[in-house]
Amino acid sequence: MKEIINVISNPPILFTLLVVILFLSFRYPEVFWSGKAMIIVGVSSVLFFILSLFDENFLLIVTKADNVPIVGLIFLILFFTWLAMWQAVKNDKRIAAGKPVAEAEIEPKRVIVWPDLVYIELIALTLCLVLLIGWSVLLEAPLEQPANPANSPNPSKAPWYFLGLQELLVYFDPWIAGVLLPGICVVGLMAIPYIDKNPKGNGYYSFAERKMAISIFIFGWLLVWILLIVIGTFLRGPNWNFFGPYEYWDIHKLEPLVNINLSEIIYIKWFGVGLPKNWFFREIFGIGTLLAYFMITPLILTKKVFSSLYVKLGIGRYSIFIALLLLLVSVPIKMYLRWLFNLKYIVAIPEFFFNI
């Protein structure tokens, strides 16, 4: 059993599995985001967690002081994602039946803030403070050996909220994983209100009215941001090698380094000749692939999938939307290329530190 879970937690399998589940949940929202589903998933994941605590390797990694909030984070995010989607699905049913959404139907329409809102805030912050004090009494803040620039721990990990970015370093060079993608993420988030011109679903939970917006956002949020943090925290050990949740973090675990560049695959494996000296000729196929991805895919998508969206958004908004979407999707694409073909770089120009 433990062996199976260790294998399933391998990033390629775990990621694929969750993509499939997420896709199905958007396809059949009433089944996946129902109260029953939540109870089943909630109970089984809590049981899974408690049973796993008997494994010493699992116990070691989840009780590391700074990892405790991430355990909480997983459960909180599962719960709140469900809570949002559950209300959205319920509202969708009401809309389909021609009734107003739940938020619109509560009477009276307006209440006085004192005391109706003020005391809820008081209760919420009191509970929060109690939780915080309890947590602080029970769990000491970590303090390791004094800083020693000569002795780097293995693995050296960034603070947990940046571990998703550190995990991306496996697949991308630092200038993409650490600078470009987080930058695009911030800009992309700020751009959302200007790209999403759909006037529906403002001020109430709804899925049917905003299927695409919600699907893309939840995909990026759960599978690209949160999942990578979870992988980076719990499943990456010494030398950033993969370790299953029940696996001992063996510092001597060897992973073969067999990653090769696209240019090497094409020139050496397929053509059977050496790499050209000139970087432009060497990388021309990679550059071509990238150009095709960012230039031709949008054309195909616009024609086949997004034709009505293109008309609705206009050329400016639509271009930004498609650029952000392609960048978001490029992350899993590169991950799969690595997992399936051991592809290191599509374009590798170390002359300019320009590797993609």
Partner: protein
């Protein structure tokens, strides 16, 4: 659960309501005193009018509107995540100030000051409160963003405030990140080393970033290990004394300063854009 409470809250009188007696009770005298009247202006908010006034007349409560949408006060709609983020920010400010009394941001003292906090202060949980509140705040801010997205609350007229919120989210992460270095232990220095190593690869601005090699005058590189963006961030080529001071100042002064201003803007815009969102 929340609904039940709500029903009660809106129908029952405030518990402080004065008992009906012919002779003025001590409580009544206190409430009617000049001091109480000047500090609490509206008196006990037990009528509809005074309940509206208590919010309107107070700077702090005025962060709220006097009246709000019924559904918006339900926990299941807002999850109270924005409010909790603000509350955690205040917890962090208070505990942070207390920690500053004991902490000196130098390589010589920083670690020992933390050890002292841990060993010498009886029942000291300030550092724990500060650290766990910081982690929790990252989570509540994320969940707040998620809630706002899921209710479509970024849509007009709230586009600008969504943008402010995204910047506040980034500030939360930066505050947490700069604070991570301050204990000056192995965890701190290496986490920050790993985090800031990426800055080395910033296009054009980092010594190992694409395009940096193009910035040359003759044979002299403009962007090198002693002049790139990572150097500016760390105040040196490695995480050291200067970095500690820089991160300390950023963590305790610069970033909270910006965050407070943006929070004020964020709350102001919530009021101006029609309070908590709801169906039209």
């Amino acid at each position: 659960m929340a609904d039940e409470n709500l029903e009660k809250g809106s129908t029952t009188e405030a518990p402080e309501a004065a008992p009906k007696k012919k002779k003025k009770s001590v409580w009544k005298q206190l409430v009617d005193s000049q001091v109480a009247k000047s500090y609490f202006r509206t008196g006990i908010p037990n009528t509809r009018r005074s309940r509206l006034l208590v919010v309107l007349n107070s700077l702090w409560l005025h962060l709220h509107p006097a009246r709000t949408r019924r559904h918006a006060v339900r926990l299941r709609y807002t999850w109270c995540m924005g409010g909790l983020s603000f509350f955690l920010f205040m917890v962090l400010t208070v505990t942070g100030i207390l920690l500053m009394f004991y902490y000196r941001p130098t390589v010589e003292y920083a670690y020992m000051d933390i050890v002292d906090l841990r060993e010498q202060v009886p029942l000291g949980i300030m550092r724990e409160l500060h650290r766990w509140a910081a982690h929790l705040m990252v989570i509540t801010v994320w969940l707040h963003m998620f809630r706002v997205f899921m209710t479509g609350s970024y849509k007009p007229p709230r586009e600008f405030n969504w943008g402010v919120g995204v910047i506040l989210l980034v500030l939360t992460l930066l505050l947490s990140f700069t604070g991570y270095l301050l204990p000056w232990d192995q965890l701190a220095i290496w986490a920050v080393t790993v985090g800031t190593n990426m800055a080395r690869a910033t296009p054009f601005l980092g010594q190992e970033g694409p395009g940096a090699a193009l910035l040359q005058i003759g044979d002299i590189a403009l962007v090198h290990a002693g002049s790139d963006i990572r150097f500016a961030l760390l105040g040196g080529r490695f995480v050291g004394e200067a970095t500690l001071l820089r991160f300390y100042v950023l963590h305790c002064v610069a970033l909270p300063f910006v965050a407070i201003i943006l929070m004020a803007l964020h709350f102001f815009r919530i009021r101006k854009d029609g309070n908590i969102s709801g169906p039209v």
